[in-house]
């Protein structure tokens, strides 16, 4: 019996050990294609990695493309939060695995991509039919030696969204042109209106604006240089534009004009739904967020007025991975998605402002009105605001991180009551850590 006993047991042991090994090996299993896309039996599969609400999938453009191009199958994966998305993208670029054929790139990351990852993205320079963009949009995603790593989707021209009913209760004008005239030309006047609002508002606790960081971003992005100069040196602590924006935002925070919320975070959403603030600096892409979170109950209470000064906050690009097995097909898709007609379509559906000059000039965009925002002529307002964006905008490697760190520094003043000089010092220390 011995023989059977031990050989059987030995078999079990071997199986167990082999099983464990295959488990280990199995985890590092390899894909044929780096990107998941490819060609098979005459069918082309293109994969996309996107974030936030870029409007590409949401407005049905992908289905339309598949219908017009039989044999093309597009798989889009959308991450909600851009920071999470970008972290994953960096890891995948470093590993050379798990990438998609087409990857979205946010403006705050554009410089880092062009400086450190240029070799991993396909070049769009000279692609026919792509000369319809705003001139500065394309230069933001170009490398020093002239490689174009992506095509622009939307841009973020600025306006101010405000609650008409609250303005009325504070004895302020409600007509969008009169409101715009209140703060025309200077963000200081916008804060001044806030002081009047706070003094004269009759009713429950309502703050003038949502967060000091919104005002800060709007001001800073109105200048050609923000945190870096053209040579790529950090200048945030000497740039008067940054200091000026910081001081005005700190004024607003210290005077209690803000609702002390953090933008885009869950606490902000109930603030919109319950109307705890009267104004918000709103880039075009924020409109869809406001209408969704403030909900049907607040339809017609919001309106959009021209901002004191033009600025560009946000906007994105679509890039194609160099190693993609369907590189040419992916580039064709990107060119189609960012073409004037498609950009105008996205604008009509969800309000993202086109980065295409031609689309901006089209009647579809110019005459657009938003039913949610009291029929505000958002096409006209934002297209005009887009003209005011400085033609040159210097981007820096860690723009996105520095922007977030400044927002956090302003939260220190709003929430913790920290003195502004101390908050600035803390912010500077954090930035030094972040840029390594």
């Amino acid at each position: 019996m011995g023989t059977f006993g031990w050989s059987h047991r030995k078999a079990v042991a071997t199986v167990a050990a082999v099983g464990a090994l295959t488990l280990v090996v199995g985890c590092s299993g390899s894909d044929d294609s780096v990107t998941g896309g490819g060609k098979k039996d005459g069918k082309v599969t293109i994969t996309m990695g996107l974030f936030g609400v870029m409007g590409i999938k949401e407005t049905g453009l992908l289905e339309q493309y598949e219908k017009e191009n039989p044999g093309v199958d597009i798989k889009a994966e959308i991450a909600g939060d851009e920071q999470t998305y970008y972290t994953a993208l960096q890891t995948r670029l470093a590993a050379g695995k798990g990438l998609k054929d087409i990857q979205g790139i946010e403006i705050g990351r554009a410089k880092e991509i062009t400086e450190t990852q240029a070799a991993k993205f396909a070049d769009f320079a000279g692609t026919s039919g792509t000369d319809h963009f705003l001139p500065w949009k394309e230069s933001q995603i170009s490398t020093a030696d002239g490689k174009v790593l992506g095509l622009g989707t939307d841009i973020g021209p600025m306006a101010v969204c405000y609650r008409k009913d609250y303005f009325e209760k504070a004895g302020l004008p409600t007509d969008r042109d009169e409101v715009a005239a209140l703060w025309e030309g200077d963000w200081k006047k916008y804060v001044e209106v806030g002081r009047t609002f706070k003094k004269d508002f009759k009713g429950d606790k309502v703050a003038y604006m949502d967060a000091a960081s919104g005002l800060f971003n709007a001001m800073v992005y109105g200048y050609p240089e923000q945190y870096y100069d053209e040579q790529g040196e950090l200048i945030y602590d000497s740039n008067p534009a940054v200091k000026q924006a910081w001081n005005l935002a700190a004024d607003a925070a210290e005077d209690g004009l803000t609702a002390k919320l953090r933008q885009f975070q869950p606490g902000w959403d109930p603030g919109l739904a319950n109307g705890t603030f009267a104004t918000a600096v709103c880039p075009a892409w924020m409109l869809s967020h406001i209408s969704e979170k403030a909900g049907a109950a607040n339809k017609g209470k919001w309106d959009v007025a021209k901002a004191p000064k033009g600025a560009n906050w946000g906007g994105s690009f679509l890039g194609v991975i160099e190693q993609s097995p369907v590189k040419e097909e992916a580039k064709k898709l990107v060119a189609w998605l960012t073409a004037p007609e498609q950009q105008a379509h996205i604008f009509k559906e969800i309000g993202n402002i086109p980065s295409s000059r031609e689309a901006l000039e089209s009647a579809d965009v110019k005459n657009a009105k938003s039913a949610y925002f009291s029929d505000a002529p958002i096409g006209e307002i934002f297209a005009a605001a887009a003209q005011e964006i400085p033609d040159k905008q210097v981007l820096g490697r860690k723009d996105g991180t520095i922007k977030d760190t400044f927002s956090q520094g302003l939260t220190l003043i709003e929430q913790q009551g920290t003195a502004r000089d101390k908050a600035w010092k803390t912010t500077a220390e954090r930035i030094e850590k972040a840029v390594g």
Binding site: T91, F264, Q265
Partner: protein
């Protein structure tokens, strides 16, 4: 691992001058011996193979990374800096702040948690109706995912529209900024931890309590011991080793606290543990360095320091235990 242990005895086996008839029998005996000694190793091998691949190798590689300057985007470009990262961390006020937060949150979550678990287990140990229901119910929080629990508690503790501030308002107390203040935030996070882990620890205690012979309680009650005296003199000493076990587990859990504060802070703000880092734990600092600042070298350094701290704490615990058992 498996191969080295199973082949080792074979090397010791006799070789060379063996008569013609014996090899078969000898080989049989050898295999038999090999099986007796080797099989147990083969059976535990899967665990160690997986451990080596997913724990030990990353541990060593992390220490290697921590001696370099590495960015997430360019993992292949590593610049040797020796112990600079450790020196820098030592002088970094964020580290000491995170360490302090980890300790305070650890204490205000672990101590009430274990005391409540002990009380709960004592109650569950009584003969009562629906005891099975109560036992299962006490385990439900443990089965809830961190994300779901933390998200719900975040809403409950919300400043403007949260349930707790609403309840405080009804009795005339001003609303508290739970996320913004240092102690309110740490208490709120501890509440999530306590809620999740009390039932789990209570069940561990209950199992240990049920192993205490009933005679001891009878003897104690014959001696006139009250319920409380029975609890302190019979129950607690009887489950002592389980208590030590739960303390060790909770300490490890507290050191690595990450998910609850991250979700409590919501998004980028959670990574830094609030605008003022008021509830940033070591786990969050690690994440901030690696996945917000993209500095993998510094992130790995935090990871190693956390590991060393844990080893240190467990050594101290052992020492205290040994000293106490030596004196008693």
């Amino acid at each position: 691992m498996a191969t080295s242990t199973t082949t080792a005895p074979a090397g010791k086996g006799p070789s060379g001058h063996s008569p013609d008839k014996r090899p078969a029998r000898r080989r049989g005996a050898l295999l038999h011996r090999l099986d007796l000694r080797g099989a147990p190793y083969a059976f535990v091998a899967p665990f160690f193979v997986v451990f080596a691949a997913f724990s030990f190798y990353p541990l060593l590689y992390t220490s290697w990374i921590s001696l370099h300057d590495v960015e997430l985007a360019t993992l292949d470009v590593m610049q040797w800096v020796a112990f600079d990262n450790y020196v820098e961390l030592w002088g970094d006020s964020r580290f000491w702040n995170a360490l302090q937060n980890t300790i305070t949150i650890g204490v205000i979550s672990t101590v009430p948690q274990l005391l409540m678990a002990l009380g709960l287990a004592h109650l569950l140990n009584y003969r009562m109706r629906f005891s099975l229901f109560f036992r299962v119910a006490s385990l439900v929080p443990y089965a809830t995912s961190v994300a779901a629990a933390a998200l719900v508690f975040t809403m409950i503790f919300e400043r403007d529209f949260g349930m707790i501030n609403w309840a405080l308002g009804t009795v005339g107390i001003d609303p508290l900024d739970w996320e913004g203040g240092k102690w309110p935030a740490q208490i709120a996070i501890s509440t999530i931890v306590i809620w999740r882990w009390t039932g789990y620890n209570a069940l561990l205690y209950l199992a240990a309590m049920q192993a205490i012979p009933a005679e001891r309680y009878e003897a104690a009650s014959l001696d006139g011991a009250s319920r409380w005296k029975q609890f302190t003199h019979v129950t607690v000493p009887g489950i002592r080793s389980t208590i030590v076990f739960t303390i060790v587990l909770s300490t490890i859990g507290a050191t690595q606290l990450f998910g609850e504060p991250l979700i409590f802070g919501q998004g980028p703000n959670g990574v830094t543990g609030g605008a003022d880092n008021q509830y940033q734990t070591l786990g969050l600092l690690l994440y901030e360095e690696g996945w917000k600042n993209y500095q993998m070298g510094r992130s790995a350094t935090v990871a190693w320091v956390m590991f060393l701290l844990l080893v240190l704490v467990l050594l101290v615990q052992r020492l205290v235990k040994r000293l106490r058992s030596g004196t008693s």
